[in-house]
């Protein structure tokens, strides 16, 4: 059998990639954000029900004891411990790992740019993301829509007032070929509509958009508040461009007890799906109890951003070697 050992990116692309990484570092140097490196391996892992970590064992020399470690799916937990220790604004360009995710826009190992800004509000952080993607990656300026606003625009229903049944029948009517036995909750249908109905429309219009004020049930690690109509919303944003989800930002949840509860809920979800519970990051919770400063943070998929800028259709075209060859 002939072995395909050649890089999956051209040398020309790798030169562009190197320059983009240098430009990103320059951008943050100019904004006085400190570059940090945190451990890739951790004894704890995220609990999110549909996020699967790679795991490996540490075996101390001279022993048979196995200590399980997980490869990070994002550097978020360690970076928050730095923030609690008084680091101020920090960023990281990190290799992250997500088990099972492989496709045109997904690689099990990819590069994430993540940064935290104690002095910025969520909207100011959106401004900064916008500046970065325009200045370094030449993307058009992104428009802003609330989650409710974008659904009103493209789907003509109000995500906060609409019944579960109305949302479900809208999804089934508008998305061709969904599995007949599909059972998902309200948020699952909304997320499907976002992926299948809204994202392609935005891409067809060549629009980059920030979407903010997600339903509180999709809060993840963001604070929950009320919008000006009194709906409970998560202080989160996502950036969509070129039909892809590029970035996910939070006004970070500071309450350790609340976060422990969310981790616990996630682990219960995992058990219902016969997935293993994930060990909760007690280091992070202890750091939060000692005091995480008010901060906003965002994670951005650098490979996808490079795909957009360099007009590549497959994530492997911007990576030295694709996962299948690694």
């Amino acid at each position: 059998m002939k072995i395909d050992w050649q890089p999956s990116a051209s040398v020309e692309t790798l030169k562009r990639r190197a320059q983009l990484l240098a430009d990103v570092r320059l951008f943050f140097a100019e904004h006085e954000v400190l570059e940090v490196e945190t451990p890739v391996l951790s004894s704890a892992a995220p609990t999110a029900p549909y996020l699967d970590s790679f795991q490996t064992d540490f075996i101390p020399l001279g022993s048979q004891d196995k200590h399980t470690f997980y490869l990070q799916t994002s550097p978020e937990f360690a970076m928050k411990r730095l923030l609690a220790a008084g680091s101020g604004s920090i960023y990281q360009i990190a290799k992250v790992f997500r088990n099972g995710e492989s496709g045109r826009q997904h690689s099990p190992e990819f590069t994430m740019l993540e940064w935290y800004r104690p002095e910025l509000t969520l909207f100011q952080l959106m401004d900064e993301v916008n500046d970065l993607v325009q200045q370094v990656f030449n993307l058009p300026a992104a428009l802003r829509f609330s989650y409710r606003g974008i659904f009103e625009l493209f789907c003509k229903f109000n995500v906060f007032n609409c019944s579960d049944d109305e949302i479900r029948s809208f999804a089934i009517k508008r998305i061709i070929g969904l599995p007949e036995d599909l059972e998902v909750k309200r948020d699952g249908w909304l997320e499907l509509i976002m992926s299948y109905v809204i994202e392609p429309r935005l891409a067809a219009m060549n629009m980059s958009v920030f979407i903010y004020d997600f339903p509180a049930s999709q809060a993840q690690l963001a604070k929950v508040t009320q919008d000006n109509s009194g709906n409970k919303v998560a202080k989160r944003f996502e950036l969509y461009a070129g039909g892809m989800e590029l970035a996910n930002g939070y006004d970070e949840l500071l309450d350790a007890e609340e976060l422990r509860q969310r981790f616990e809920d996630d682990n219960q979800q995992r058990e219902l799906q016969n997935k293993p519970r994930m060990p909760i990051d007690e280091n992070l919770l202890a750091a939060m109890e000692s005091g995480l400063p008010q901060c906003t943070g965002v994670a951005l998929g650098l490979d996808r951003l490079m795909m957009l800028m360099l007009n590549k259709q497959n994530i492997n075209a911007v990576k030295t070697f694709k996962f299948e060859q690694s």
């Binding site: 549909y50 826009q105 997904h106 998305i175 061709i176 998902v184 997320e191 992926s195």
Partner: protein, 189 residues
């Protein structure tokens, strides 16, 4: 027939859907939000030729389709069926009008065609990329016009009509690209 899980999906995989054999054109992983993963599949129904889309939950299984591609030589038609022969076993395979619809105008005896068979029955006949066909009808050739500008219609021995340069005459043998349906050059023999 074997079952295939979504993690084995790739373009060209033949599977059964609602009783029809289908071929995957494109398979994409979608992970809406932080929710469960899906495989969004674009496929061709090999019976109807229609392209469609279906979403599978990651981990779902499909039944493989017993679909094979064989190279067969076109022999003749009796008006109802078109007969193709296996050059090794001399076995004859009858394709119906549906199966040859796309390549009917490129069918010429003794040329070898790719025949997609499902459970042994021809489903779809695909023409080779290039065939040489003689002109049976066209306006008289214009001597001196070798630039190939403009052109004129010519009917070929299979009934296909293509645009050819003005200097072509009845009886000339032409090389045709069956994918675009365009004249390429004058063929030698």
């Amino acid at each position: 027939m074997a079952n295939f899980s979504t993690n084995e999906f790739k373009s060209g995989l033949k599977f059964m859907l609602d009783g029809d054999p289908c071929s995957i054109i494109e398979n994409e992983l979608v992970k809406p939000g932080k929710g469960q993963a899906f495989n969004r599949v674009k496929f061709r129904n090999l019976k109807t030729g229609r392209v469609n889309e279906k979403t599978f939950k990651s981990g779902d299984k499909v039944e493989g389709a017993d679909v094979m591609e064989v190279e067969l030589e076109y022999s003749y038609t009796d008006g109802e069926f078109w007969y193709f022969m296996d050059a090794v076993t001399f076995e004859q395979h009858a394709a119906d009008a549906n199966a040859i619809e796309d390549c009917k105008k490129w069918l010429k005896e003794q040329y070898v065609y790719t025949v997609t068979q499902w459970n042994g029955t021809p489903l779809l006949v695909t023409a080779p990329n290039f065939v040489n066909l003689a002109v049976t009808e066209t306006d008289p050739g214009l001597k001196g016009d070798t630039a190939g500008t403009g052109g004129k219609p010519a009917t070929l021995e299979t009934g296909a009509v293509v645009r050819v340069p003005l200097f072509m005459n009845i009886g000339d043998l032409l090389r045709i690209d069956t994918r675009s349906g365009e004249y390429v050059e004058r063929a030698k023999s």
